[in-house]
């Protein structure tokens, strides 16, 4: 294993609090990176900018969170190295955020599912014992409110749109719904972070979240698949290959030119 200080590899935080903040950071980073792939490829110039704006919001959140991870547990010489030089299975994002940009329906549905979850997760951080984390959450919640507004509008519009747009939204829902269970799962790391006062328990909002999302989907003439087997494991580092493809792009510069500065 390469143990140079410019390369983190398989290291995972020891403290549950750090682990939880790294999960939040990786969620924002990986979805931000996914959305950045759309730069120059969205169906319209207006949508191109909308998606890259959301991407930049998320990468900005990730930057703050990686910096904060570093103050909790110094895992790397700097936040760039922490963000960009880990092995695939040392990334602690949920599986949903790494799902590919199959078409615009997948993109807006993924955003809607994630942002409505992220809102509840960050609201649970507002009264955190960690004041920096509470401040990051407060700042991010304004951005998240806009992400929800954008994504929700498109889910409705495309779900209840033409035959083609409806079919694409239904396909996206079939594909992405199975990743929604992980978002509200309380594993031992999250439970320990909650016990430590880092955040309140947002996992009891799962049912309310489902009711809200299913109602919006119904308005968009869409129904989530029955008896879905929920896929989980991202938060524990059991990543799918989709993440590997993201990392190939995302890590290239940092690995090729260690310690590079912009």
């Amino acid at each position: 294993m390469n143990s140079s200080p410019n390369f983190i590899g398989a290291m995972i935080p020891a403290k549950p609090e750090t682990n939880f903040v790294l999960r939040c950071a990786d969620n924002a980073m990986i979805l931000g990176q996914r959305l950045s792939e759309m730069c120059g490829h969205a169906p319209e110039l207006e949508l191109d900018l909308a998606l890259t704006n959301i991407s930049l919001d998320l990468i900005g959140q990730a930057g703050l969170l990686y910096d904060h991870v570093q103050t909790l547990e110094k895992l790397a010489p700097n936040a760039d190295v922490l963000a960009l030089t880990r092995d695939q299975n040392a990334y602690l994002n949920c599986l949903l955020v790494a799902q590919p940009n199959v078409d615009f329906a997948h993109i807006v549905l993924r955003q809607y599912l994630f942002s409505t979850f992220q809102k509840r997760q960050y609201e649970a951080l507002l009264s955190s014992s960690d004041e920096t984390l509470a401040a990051i959450a407060e700042k991010s919640l304004k951005e998240i409110a806009y992400h929800i507004r954008f994504a929700k509008d498109w889910v409705l519009r495309l779900g209840d749109g033409t035959e083609d747009s409806h079919e694409r939204m239904a396909d996206a829902l079939d594909c992405l719904w199975r990743y929604s269970g992980e978002l509200f799962e309380k594993d031992s790391v999250l439970a320990a972070a909650i016990d430590a006062g880092l955040l309140t328990d947002f996992t009891d909002k799962y049912e309310a979240w489902q009711i809200e999302v299913v109602a919006l989907l119904a308005e968009a003439t869409l129904t989530p698949p029955d008896d879905t087997h929920m896929l989980k494991g991202g938060y524990q580092g059991h990543q799918e290959d989709h993440l590997g493809h993201i990392l190939t792009d995302m890590q290239y510069m940092q690995l090729k030119y260690p310690s590079l500065q912009w």
């Binding site: 169906p43 319209e44 110039l45 207006e46 949508l47 900018l49 909308a50 704006n53 806009y146 507004r149 954008f150 509008d153 519009r157």
Partner: protein, 95 residues
């Protein structure tokens, strides 16, 4: 991908309260809601706005460029209509 479902909207932004909305440009959108979202994404990225107006471009009534001679030229030689003979008091920011 330009089609019959995409319309042109004109965007006006106000930088702060008390100022007038100014034309900033245009966006393509399907309806008023997406037009506002797109205008926000395109024209307020650098903190330019505290308020947005949008209007369908086709709803703007414009003067005919061919008539600009009769409409505007007569004002050219009436310098006494400009308030340039007054000095502006210190402390007045927006005139």
């Amino acid at each position: 991908m330009q089609s019959d479902n995409w319309f042109l909207y004109e965007v006006f932004i106000r930088s702060k309260n008390g100022m007038a909305h100014k034309h900033a440009g245009s966006v393509h959108a399907q309806d008023a809601e997406t037009a506002i979202l797109s205008a926000r994404d395109l024209y307020t990225r650098r903190g330019e706005a505290s308020s947005l107006w949008i209007i369908r471009s086709k709803d703007i009534i414009a003067s005919d460029p061919a008539e600009s001679g009769e409409l505007y030229d007569p004002a050219d030689d009436k310098i006494y209509r400009h308030p340039t003979f007054y000095s502006v008091p210190d402390g007045v920011k927006n005139m």
